[in-house]
Amino acid sequence: MDAKTTLLEKAAVLEALPDHPAIKAILAWNPDALTDAKIDRGEVTLTIAPNCVRGAAATVKAAGYNALQDVTAVDWFPSVPRFQLSYHICSHAYKNVLRLRVMVDEADAAVESLTPVWAGANYYEREVFDLFGIRFEGHPNLRRILMPDDWTGHPLRKDYPVEGYR
């Protein structure tokens, strides 16, 4: 995929990439899981329904996206839904990176943990829990990782000040 390609519509992406292994696998598994898709600067982003994260992750893993690289979040405060979870998954066979994007609401900021699919999601999910306060259901040890255990608040939220008192 050329680094200049930009397609922001799901229909356009599905048309441009009919043979993309991850898109094909997700559509075959559960067409409702894929709520949106875009190609921005050559990077493929698939938006997944919040209740289908683990299934979608297992599906793309089986489709060749074998190595989870990174789990992180973006706080779009005050938009609703507030949090965007970004999963970056590398494929050693296809030699590219796929981004799964999940939007979660502040009121019930929780998604399924990916630790049963990739054990390596453990620390990354703890980091997101620590710094954003998003809970991961089914995580074996969801504790703070960078901040002290008795810290209050979640520093990477946008309503948490960069300097001064909380």
């Binding site: 973006v74 040890n141 960078l146």
Partner: protein, 405 residues
């Protein structure tokens, strides 16, 4: 501030734990933990049952700080994350922002970036080799590797004015033209360096103590390596053949000829062998960069993003205005999100930069390899002797600055 659940405070006790197991703290001020790493070890006699790494002692909130800075002001922050590989950090951040901006980088800047990234890898591997051997008890090697590292730091000082916090690779190119005698001096260093690698190898490869401490210790299977998000030399020593430089090339790495050393053994010795071989490959890449160094500018042609030449700024009105605007207001970056990976000395570094169209990054996330490598520590040490923990921690080459950020 809404509170999202209360944190679970106690360390969960593993199933099968018995009363006679002892809990032992290693660190955070332990000489073999390479910084402020605290390992809570559950041991049965001398055998490691479980390891709970406790990190965060060096957490300075760099990702949060980035959100309050202009794009160009983030470059010096990235130096301080992995403090042993400053050029690699500058490079990955610059590449990510350049991808957002869709900037074309001139060939000379790209080749200089490759040259500097490889010198950084040599620097990082030299520190690993010296400290790893020192942990095992071979004190001499440290003095040898720091002799060569000193020369690399002098080269960095020559080109950027700083030994460690270089901030030399900037958004849109490089900070300055290299001094005239820089490339000949890199050439002189690179010419003598393969001999030096042989010297280290002579000190360690046949050394029976070193072999006994590393061979068969800290085994990591290829499946576990990928599942635990381990990357870089540790993953390649477990037999997974993937290197970002070759497989997802950036900064014109596709124009260089080099091998990717891989071993199928998966123990600490394999990691030693792979890294030693990587040093030799880095020498080859630097030599190719020196031989084929293109002529031309070192900055992209983007006057609203790249600071103007000092001389132009003092003589041309337009350049002065651009300079003033960039310094006081920064430059707006089109909205979007990018993820850029590179191969640093430790493994795959990924920067995730989200822009909302303003002059400050909305979110910068730094994925560093040591963070993931630490997860694999328990798998590598379980059922082994306590003394092996020191060898394994040394062999995965962690830098706490990049773990805690």
């Amino acid at each position: 501030m809404p509170d999202v659940g209360t944190p679970i405070l106690e360390v969960p006790v593993a199933e099968g734990s018995r009363d006679q197991h002892m809990v032992l703290n290693m660190g955070p001020q332990h000489p073999s933990t390479h910084g402020v790493l605290r390992l809570v070890l559950e041991i049965d006699g001398e055998i490691v049952v479980r390891i709970y790494p406790e990190i965060g002692y060096l957490h300075t909130g760099i990702e949060k700080t980035c959100e309050a800075k202009f794009y160009q002001q983030v470059v010096p922050l990235t130096d301080r994350v992995d403090y042993l590989g400053p050029m690699a950090n500058n490079l990955v951040y610059s590449l990510a922002v350049e991808k957002l901006l869709q900037l074309e980088i001139p060939p000379k800047a790209q080749w200089m970036r490759v040259l500097l990234a490889e010198l950084t890898r040599i620097n990082s591997h030299l520190i690993w080799l010296g400290t790893h051997a020192m942990d095992i008890g071979a004190l001499t090697v440290f003095l040898y590797t720091f002799r060569e590292r000193e020369e690399i730091l002098r080269l960095f000082e020559m080109i950027s004015g700083q030994r460690m916090m270089t901030s030399y690779i900037r958004i849109g190119g490089l900070a300055l033209e290299a001094p005239l005698d820089f490339l000949p001096r890199v050439q002189a260093f690179i010419k003598g360096f393969p001999e030096k690698i042989d010297e280290y190898s002579n000190l360690l490869t046949g050394n029976p103590i070193f072999m006994n401490r590393l061979k068969g210790v800290g085994y990591l299977s290829p499946e576990d390596a990928v599942a635990l998000a381990v990357t870089g030399p540790v993953m390649r020593a477990s037999g997974v053949d993937f290197d970002v430089r070759r497989d997802m090339p950036y900064s014109s790495y596709e124009k260089f000829q080099f091998n990717v050393p891989v071993s199928n053994v998966g123990d600490c010795w394999a990691r030693y062998a792979v890294r030693l071989e990587e040093l030799r490959e880095s020498v080859k890449i630097v030599q190719q960069a020196l031989d084929g160094m293109p002529e031309g500018p070192i900055k992209a042609d983007a006057p609203k993003i790249v600071l103007p030449d000092r001389e132009q700024m003092k003589t041309q009105m337009e350049a002065l205005i651009h300079h003033f605007k960039i310094v006081t207001e920064g430059f707006a970056v089109p909205a979007g999100e990018v993820y850029q990976s590179i191969e640093s000395g430790h493994g795959q570094v990924g920067y995730y930069v989200v822009s909302d169209g303003t002059a400050k990054p909305y979110r910068v996330h730094m994925r560093y390899p040591s963070f993931a490598d630490l997860q694999a520590l328990e798998t590598m040490c379980q059922g082994r002797l306590l003394a092996d923990v020191v060898a394994v921690v040394g062999s995965i080459d962690i830098v706490l600055g990049e773990i805690d950020r």
